[in-house]
Symmetry: C2
Subunit: 386 residues, 2 copies
């Protein structure tokens, strides 16, 4: 068997497991870590004795699901919805998800043109209550727009209320946003956000652990939150009642050593009570995007010229490198001109430009794009923008 075929087996095996095993199952995660993907797939297909840690009943359920699983069908359904499967080891895999240990997703289904790995490097989660107040909507949208304008990627859960306001705020600022769903990326939930999630897939990324066609459940929402927390450099909770699910994202972020932030509100509002509880603990109080960036922004920040390395130019994908090379050194250029220079389409060039922006290489300038000061300096010095 060639190395390519092995990688193909591994991918297909992960697609298979992502259908059979529920998100966040640490027992199954240990099987995969200790035995490898293909061995676990084989055991599940064979049936027989349970693997360690699974009861007979649970094992039988997994084997039954395995019996009905055809990974090629999931890949085909995903392809039809414009989604790809990204697993650990893939170039697009966001390495910080490994912090989840055995609860690490088996893989992620991704819709959208941008590269998830690079976007995640410079992302912040903005989450909160579904039944939020007008104040919460306003603050979430303003905060997300401010983050987007500063070149940060806004990650949220695509839900009604704060999540939706955060996505919309980022989109309205022509910024980058990622929706992490608790269902198949081909069947957006909630249904009322189908159009919004469609726009996110166009301009940003729609991501999820669950295979095509799968529905959300309360448990899946909570487990989805760990992915939002792990993917991002920090989580901001905008409004949350005392037992709000969005607090689980904040708690997961805290456990993972991510920066946890909260936006205060009136103490007379029950929808700020959960946030205030967070703020009385470890979370940092933030009132605007600048304060969030101050806390999370220790890599790849655009403004200061004396920053540490952002992301080595050598590690950029060839497509991104071509686009970077096509940018003039002394002025801004429209996307069309850059696409022409990089021998690619305008849409592809724009997707790469957003990635490069997330990494601090380029910035928007009116309707065009130009190299950041750091990038110009690094070109002169023959190294990355640092």
């Amino acid at each position: 068997m060639t190395a390519g075929a092995e990688a193909g087996d591994e991918l297909l095996g992960r697609v298979f497991l992502a259908r059979v095993i529920e998100p966040g199952d640490e027992v199954a995660g240990r099987w995969v870590r200790e035995r490898g993907v293909t061995a676990v797939v084989r055991r599940l297909r064979q049936g027989g004795e349970p693997l360690p840690g699974a009861s007979g009943v649970r094992w039988a359920g997994l084997v039954e699901r395995a019996r009905r699983t055809v990974p090629e069908r999931d890949l085909a359904a995903a392809a039809e919805a414009g989604a790809r499967f990204v697993g650990p080891g893939d170039a697009e895999w966001p390495g910080q998800l490994d912090d989840l240990g055995d609860a690490r997703p088996l893989g992620l289904w991704v819709r959208g043109r941008a590269g998830l790995r690079m976007w995640a490097l410079r992302s912040v989660a903005v989450v909160g209550a579904r039944a939020c107040t007008a104040y919460g909507t306003h603050v979430a949208a303003t905060l997300a727009a401010g983050l987007a304008e500063r070149g940060w990627v806004v990650v949220s859960g695509g839900a009604y209320g704060i999540d939706g306001a955060a996505h919309r705020g980022a989109l309205a600022a022509r910024g980058a946003t990622v929706a992490v769903l608790a269902c198949g990326v081909d069947r957006p939930y909630p249904r009322g956000h189908a159009a919004l999630i469609g726009r996110i897939a166009e301009q940003g990324l729609v991501v999820g652990e669950l295979p095509p066609g799968d529905h959300p459940t309360p448990t899946r929402f909570i487990l989805r939150n760990r992915v939002i927390a792990a993917l991002t450099r920090g989580t901001v909770v905008v409004e949350a009642a005392c037992r709000s699910g969005s607090l689980s994202t904040a708690r997961a972020a805290q456990r993972l050593g991510r920066i946890t932030m909260g936006v205060p509100g009136p103490v007379t509002s029950g929808l700020s009570a959960g946030v205030h509880e967070l703020l009385r603990g470890e979370a940092a109080l933030v009132t605007d995007a600048a304060e969030v960036v101050e806390l999370v922004g220790d890599i790849g920040d655009l403004a200061p010229a004396r920053r540490g390395p952002v992301f080595p130019r050598d590690l950029l994908e060839p497509g991104a490198r071509a686009v970077l090379a096509a940018l003039p050194g002394d002025r801004a250029a429209p996307a069309e001109e850059i696409a022409l220079g990089a021998r690619t389409t305008r849409d592809e060039a724009i997707a790469r430009l957003y990635e490069l922006r997330a990494l601090g290489y380029v910035e928007r300038h009116g309707d065009g794009w130009k190299l950041t000061r750091q990038a110009v300096m690094s070109v002169r010095e023959g190294r990355g923008p640092c």
Copy 2:
């Protein structure tokens, strides 16, 4: 000269100095500390060479003020307004003011029946903007009422806005409140709060450094704030714009090692921006009276029976001891009955009962008063309520 005459000289000397020297003058504070009150009074009356640290012009100004100062006149004016003068060394002097070092007040003018020293032991400052919002008024009043109901004394500056709401909240809960003014206690400022400050003098205490008849100035407001900060166990800022004067109280509290707290509000409100700034620093976020008490309440808290000593019974003033002795051990009694038992007036008994409540000895019970569980236990064990 007898010891009594000397104490009288010291008192008269301090009344004299409180008229000649502006609040918070650390140079003059050093003179008093190093040379004693009477020596400094003598030098100011004599004129001649300036004391160290004073320019010729400044010294001449002080000498001129000294020439016009008749302390007996201030004492008479104060007495007419129902005010007494309390200096360091007096039984009623709040020892924690000594934390101000050479900026310690030379003395305080006090209107009201309660003992300042004991009240201050169990007091919290609630301060904030004058031009506050309806949210701020509501929160300040609710917080102050909650503190008063828990037996805490609410200290504020008697100003419009948050200060007034805090005093009113405490009064409405039939609680104890202290207004610290930046002017003579006989001429309440602002004029629009004359009735409120009158009620505070009736039910609580009105306190100030400035001699009878003196007006407030911007500097005097700021210097008054250090007294509020030093007098109390902690300062809560309810609403404050970014350069609000009430933040100086919080900063003074921080410098003095007092607990500094802030009530969050909408991030869209400029009147919460100063508080949020505080909360992003050292200050603790609080949303209600219970949370404030949790932070400041490590002495004299009523609820837990296993607390450390509150205030030794032996150190109670004779009047308070008599009232304490008049309380039945097994039931609540109306103030009239207690006054009768203590051979005093009802008003006097009520004033003492509030003091005793501040110290954790008694609590309100419907319209009457009863010993706290701690006090009952301590009576049985023959010691203070601890």
